[in-house]
């Protein structure tokens, strides 16, 4: 009989909670994101919940899932009910549109700055004192310099790395494609380990002590420096890098089904607000809002940035030429 009593009690208690929950609307959102945004969205989700509660009186709980950008996109294609996705590159969101038809083709035009509220770039992280005297991309192909980068075939971040190096070589050689290929070929000859994801490479460089230079997202480089102390690593800004725009979008089919369109839309738009931009900047993403950008000017050094659309003709084309099977990256290893 004892168990019966407990059961009754439990039922009573749960009965008490049911009407409470239905008074104020309780909304949950799922944000499917990529690896290094963990800290950013932890802060932002809390801020947005507060903002939304004040504005509409509804309590919103946001869950964020993290993983390699491509893997996350595949999960959404295969049916993970994401209300919004915030991924590393537009190619992955393009595939959500092409393969699963969950969003319209012109999704990237729906929000300002190519649907990228914050941007980042690719920098070089070296060990304290810069013992190999690395100043720019050209130093990475010198014999005896060991370079750490993840595999561009499996990591979105590594594709940005590859394209940044490629763009540098194009510029140095008056857009000579063959010379640029030779350059990245030499660079990858200096890579002893190709981890499958960005965080794996960070571990290889930081924990295993392998490599002289680590090609990295700017925000990851800042984070590594903050977590492990500026006495261990230095950030080297190359003479030219790439403007990395991690895009965001709502997943139309899911938000219509779950009736969360309004809040999901607000969740993304609030990223562009003063507070959202401030949080992004604090987490080492470059803000796009002029006032916040001015405030954090000192944190982000000026870099000569090229755009993927200008140099490589967009992600679709870049993916096809460089990273698909038999592309320029594969050719490096198939001689």
């Amino acid at each position: 009989m004892q168990t019966f009593k407990y059961l009754k009690k439990a039922l009573l208690i749960s009965a008490l909670f049911v009407p409470l929950a239905s008074l104020a609307a309780e909304i949950t959102l799922l944000n499917v994101s990529y690896d290094p945004t963990r800290e950013l969205y932890q802060d932002y989700n809390a801020a947005f919940s507060k903002y939304w509660l004040a504005k509409s009186g509804d309590k919103v709980t946001i869950k964020t899932s993290h993983g390699g950008s491509g893997k996350q996109a595949r999960a959404v294609i295969d049916g993970l009910p994401a209300d919004v996705v915030t991924l590393a590159l537009s190619y992955d969101i393009d595939e959500i549109s092409a393969k699963a038809k969950l969003i319209p083709k012109n999704w990237q035009k729906r929000l300002t700055h190519n649907s990228s509220p914050y941007s980042s770039t690719i920098v070089l992280l070296v060990r304290k004192g810069n013992p190999k005297n690395i100043k720019d991309w050209s130093d990475l192909i010198k014999p005896g310099v060991s370079v750490i980068t993840p595999n561009p075939k499996t990591s979105g971040g590594a594709r940005w790395n590859y394209l940044a190096a490629y763009a540098y070589a194009l510029k140095q050689n008056n857009n000579d494609d063959a010379k640029a290929r030779e350059f990245v070929g030499k660079l990858f000859k200096n890579v002893p380990v190709l981890d499958s994801g960005a965080r794996g490479s960070t571990t290889t460089f930081v924990e295993r002590g392998i490599g002289d230079v680590f090609i990295s997202w700017e925000n990851e480089a800042f984070l590594a420096q903050k977590e492990l102390g500026p006495d261990k690593f230095e950030i080297v800004i190359p003479s030219l890098s790439i403007l990395a725009e991690p895009p965001i979008t709502i997943i139309d089919k899911t938000v219509d089904k779950r009736k969360t369109r309004t809040v999901a839309q607000a969740y993304l738009e609030y990223l562009y607000s003063e507070e959202g931009q401030e949080i992004a900047a604090k987490n080492y993403y470059r803000p796009t809002l002029a006032s916040v950008a001015a405030k954090y000017e000192k944190q982000f050094p000026k870099v000569n940035l090229i755009k993927i659309d200008d140099v490589f003709g967009g992600w679709q084309k870049a993916q096809k030429t460089h990273f698909s099977d038999g592309g320029t990256f594969d050719q490096i290893y198939q001689k």
Partner: protein, 276 residues
Amino acid sequence: MAKQKNILPGFNLSLGFTIFYLSLIVLIPLSAAFIKTTELSIPEFWEVITAPRVVASYKLTFGASFIAAIINAAFGLLTAWVLVRYPFPGKKFIDALVDLPFALPTAVAGIALTAVYSGNGWIGSWLEPLGIKVAFTPIGVVVALTFIGLPFVVRTVQPVLEDLEAETEEAAASLGANRWQTFSKIIFPAIWPALLTGFALAFARAIGEYGSVIFIAGNMPMVSEITPLIIITKLEQYDYAGATAVAVVMLVISFLLLFAINGLQWWSNRQRIAAR
């Protein structure tokens, strides 16, 4: 000849359930892989599965798995022997230790092994001056695969060794056999099928392993890329058909190898019975 009726009841029901269950758990997912590959034409399929990088990965995956399974067969047998034959303090503890590779998430195993064997790790820092690099080379792959395969051999051989009666060995000794003869003529034939099973299980497990290898392999194309990584790489490019094509090749090779090992086992069992 009249159809022989089984003595045990429930044959039809249990066989029916077995087939249903195997279909649900094994055959349906596998056939999905085969169906996905039909998106490719035969020349396309051939091109995918014979690309130089893919072929290099088959060699690594099957070669390293084979070496790891051989190592496990030898040292697993030794471990099982020690655990069964000799009483010593801490035996229970060592016995439990054997199962650890089963329980440990493979990614943890991979990270731990990499930490130990890399140039600045406990073991790696001793090996590196000798010119032996383990982490981020094919040797590292073998090390990881040996680690995850150990329990299979020990756990299959152990019960058979326990069942062996000491009397048979005593009889052999009293009939004038020396120790080596007792082992090779009496003990070894009895445990050989179990050893072969353990070997096959360790081998099969190693072929499919991803989590632990990925950290220690270094993943250099043509050198230390395992086939499961090639599959993941293709998925990353949204090339589902290409990924399943490589998967199908792995499946077919694994199936043939396991089938051959089973055949060998069946054959050796028959030899043993015939010799009696």
